[in-house]
Amino acid sequence: MNCQVVQNKIIALADPRLIPDALREHLAGCAACRDWAQQAARLERLLEGLPAPAAPADRKAALVEQITFGAPIITRPLAMPAGQRESRFAAFLQRNAVVIAGLAAAILIAVGVWNLFPRGGPKPDLTQSIPDDPFLKKMVARDLALAKADTPAKRLVVLGGMAEDLSIQARSLARVASADELRDLARWYDKVVKGAIVKQAEKMHGVTLTPAEVKARAEMLGALTKQLGDTAAETDQLLNSVPPDAKPVLQKIADAARDGQKLIGVVELRGEKDKN
């Protein structure tokens, strides 16, 4: 067998690490093909260990919960004669009568399965949408400002503003948006405050400054902390006047704001300790 054939056979195997006897003979006497086999084995190992981001556990859990306890799963109606389709739906609904109220079932049928899980699925129909979204403009403006910000202090200004935009939006939409949509806002708020803002606060402490600069920095972080406190307070105030499923989400935002305050405080303390 010539080397080209052997090498091709090796990578055509189900697993190149399991070399059949017929090929072993050739490998015994051929260093080039042994090297090839070794590389193929290494490739196989590397491919097996190919990294991927962690599967999102919350999506899985949400789906499991929906399926176990939730409304019936209705996919787009199959191409069946109308009479037959109706009776299958009727039977389906009857079986799940505990879970469905009549009106809810009618809505589900009209609205389709994708609106049970609004995140993802068919993309929004842009032609029905309302253009010139001010919130969208704000977010783009924040990104632009962050693009220009080249110090932690400047970034904190913008990030603080972005967090504020998100919390205001959540409060504005608390009575009209779905819990899922509000959860997204809460999640983004959390990311910005406990991820980005705290990180930049830490970076501010990595630098040696003159006493005047230290004072200015303390003032800025103080202002930021106060802003977070205001967000928490304002969000708290709203809790009793929003729909029940919006409450826990707004609570999350208030908590994230308070956590942010604490974390910045910790960073400050650490900075003080380092100084002394």
Binding site: G161, V192, A212
Partner: protein, 169 residues
Amino acid sequence: MRRAVLTLIAMALCAWVSAQGPAPLPAEIQVKQFKTNRILIENLVDHGIDLSNADDPLERAKACRQTARTLANYLERAADAEDAERIAEFATLYGEVVRDGLVPILESARTIIPNGSPRWSELQETSRKAAADFAEARKCIPTAGKAGESEKVKAVLAILAEMQAKFAP
């Protein structure tokens, strides 16, 4: 230095105060817009966090390009749907990010990164890709049909055409 820092604080307070912006739209409209733009906004938040993590002009340029590309994607989708209003909206936002963000950062990066270094080639590559993105975005905007006839779309096309000059090689 002190003045700069104090100015920063003044800026900070203004920024936070002005977060209120113009009179808000009715909640029903806001929520409709949010439903439509939700995924885009999540992307922008993520890009913003990436931008804040970028430590030098080259990294910022790469992250800013992400923001620009995301908007360009939505622009293309609006163009496919021949939605004149949305085409104008996304094209305007895209143009702003390019003109006020990407181009200045690339210029500033060029003054900082030494010619011939490995990062220089990365910078060149990023510039080249950004220019290509821009050309592609311009191309996808319709010039005929119901969207192409819209005054808004024509106006935005003209603005982008002017900007093309900035991407001269």
